[in-house]
Symmetry: C2
Subunit: 341 residues, 2 copies
DNA sequence: CACAGCGTTCAAAGCGCTTTGGGGATTGCC
DNA sequence: GGCAATCCCCAAAGCGCTTTGAACGCTGTG
């Protein structure tokens, strides 16, 4: 059943029916009720394609899915998506996943922007130099950023306090007496990686300790990469007594390296990991339970979707700039630094 | 730039230009080349919305995303999605993620089917009694299934050999001398869970062993659930000497329980897990490295998307019914059963 | 030379919705 | 009673594409 038929059924014009359905004030409350009831009764649903063509609005938000990148580091992505889905469902928005490779990512964005298949895109994991942001800004296509944009001015975004999280975690380790600390960070190109790096460095500086004690490594945050870097480091003479991990996955690799070397966590080695709260991999299900800096990726997903929808509704870019605090949860993977041997 | 403008630019009718672009035979090769060149030059892209309205085809495939269910058990989902994305990108298809709660899932499907926002939906993790399949079948809406449909007749699907995988894994454990085996399975409602259950039972029967030696449990496959069930079982007198895990996540929980109880894997306890190849959690990054039944969820994703697109292209439902073999990979988490004490 | 046949191209009619620019009723006011 | 103002409602024009049915120009045949 389409509008025309419904209108005929009601002996009203399409215009009136359309307006009644869309809540325009030009139609009396009485007829609106009648129309609504009839629509309900006949199970009428406006055609999204037609509406889209007529209005130019897609009622969909776009997420570019870089398969290669995400597959590597993002079981998080599901949880994030679940968050996005939650709010977009409430507003009747669809989520369009546009696959892309690192190679054609920019082309994908520019297609999305010109196609009209989505009204807004959510951009994740911004880079320190981000061509995607540059492109969308120039095209004046609505977008919001999950993470800290390199140049935040005029951009609505939502981030967690990566700087604070790692500063806090590092200070905590320093207080426990750790001096040789390893930081297994993500890839240097991401702003969140830079923030974490600065956070850790700041903690060292604040404690009056030389920056050289912080052994930092940048890499895609997988268990295997972490294992590869942690294992030789832990075998060395001046091995680190504590390792800061960029994610739970990284911690997994470190745990393996430690186990293989017979190092007890936390007696011989302390571990702090950043935890985005993947329900599938709760930090407290590890052995030992992990001390973490915790933030909810899912909550971030629901919120950033809200911001995206507000943007569609006309809110100015830059109107939202939230940085969520991150909590340090001390569990069993951290202890006082071992005595100097 | 739209069709009309492009046509005007070329001094041709919209009809001709449209046909040239879409490869219809009614236009001469010469003009087709001219049109193609011009389209390229002006960067013309047909409006998806308009095309959709005119043709009724959406050029999109739908995946219903049940946030609650997926969040629990599916870091897999990303990897699967990556696979789907891979092939759909090649064909220029978009992926529409429709969020839903368990509550309104059926409504979501029926909306998708009547909306015209997608041309086909991919249904995952079919249930033993699956209202979604019933609905789509009745509506005659194109769909394909990832997993074994309860009644496979007339349905295109792709599944891995869950039965064979667990039969093989169980036989392997039995050969190692294990008699008290625990199976931590998923929720009973899924067909794959039933298949795995049957696989394990069959192995016991084939070995002439009583079914009572197989201690099977059904639950959402999370690390925490696994821990909760494994821990007391491992503390009991007649504790299992081997545990079959429905996923890597489940194995994680079991490993924790074992570690806390001071049980050595594989000396005191053997573990076999099913591994869908999440790159984030490679089975060989655990300590000990896990013996697994392995299949690639990502490859399944790319293939099921192909099947879905073939379905859109007119292939009959039921034309594809693939069951992929699953390989048993023996690593360090399995060993001969400990001596009877 | 007329006509059929073929290969190309075109004008126009949708697809189902929104929205502009009016226009009947009905009401309030003088 | 006449006029404008106020409500409601409508006809029709798009949105940008596909597709039907017709027409055009050209060739080959009787």
């Amino acid at each position: 059943m389409n509008l025309k038929e419904l209108a005929a059924e009601l002996h009203l014009s399409q215009t009136t029916v359309s307006r009644a359905l869309n809540g325009y004030p030009e139609v009396s409350e009485k007829t609106r009720q009648i129309v609504l009831a009839a629509a309900q009764r006949f199970g009428y649903r406006p055609s999204p394609a037609a509406r889209r063509l007529a209005t130019g609005r897609a009622h969909a938000l776009g997420v570019v899915f870089n398969a290669e990148r995400n597959a590597l580091m993002d079981p998080l992505f599901v949880e994030y998506l679940a968050g996005v889905a939650e709010t977009s469902a409430k507003q009747g928005f669809d989520i369009l996943i546009s696959p892309s490779t690192p190679h054609d990512e920019i082309a994908t964005y520019s297609r999305l922007a010109s196609d009209g298949t989505v009204d807004v895109v959510i951009l994740s994991a911004p880079l320190c130099v981000d061509p995607r942001i540059a492109l969308l800004s120039e095209l004046k296509f609505p977008f919001v950023v999950h993470g800290r944009p390199p140049i935040p001015a005029g951009i609505s975004y939502l981030d967690i306090d990566n700087f604070g999280a790692f500063q806090q975690a590092t200070s905590f380790l320093i207080q426990l007496g750790h001096r040789r600390v390893m930081l297994i960070n993500g890839e240097e190109q991401f702003t969140f990686v830079e923030d974490r790096s600065r956070g850790a460095a700041t903690a060292f500086a604040a404690a009056g300790l030389p920056a050289t004690l912080l052994d930092e490594h940048f890499m895609p945050m997988t268990a295997e990469n972490a294992y590869r870097i942690a294992r030789p480091a832990l075998e060395a003479d001046a091995r680190p007594t504590a390792i800061l991990c960029g994610s739970i996955l990284v911690a997994l690799g470190v745990l393996r390296a430690a186990a293989e070397l017979g190092l007890d966590v936390p007696r011989d080695l302390s571990i702090v990991a950043h935890d985005d709260e993947m329900p599938a991999f709760p930090a407290d299900q590890f052995h030992p339970q992990l001390t973490t800096t915790r933030s909810s990726i899912r909550a971030a997903g629901t919120r950033i979707a809200e911001v995206a929808l507000a943007r569609v509704a006309g809110q100015k870019p830059g109107a939202v700039a939230e940085v969520w605090p991150v909590q340090l949860i001390v569990r069993g993977s951290t202890a006082a630094a071992p005595e100097r041997s």
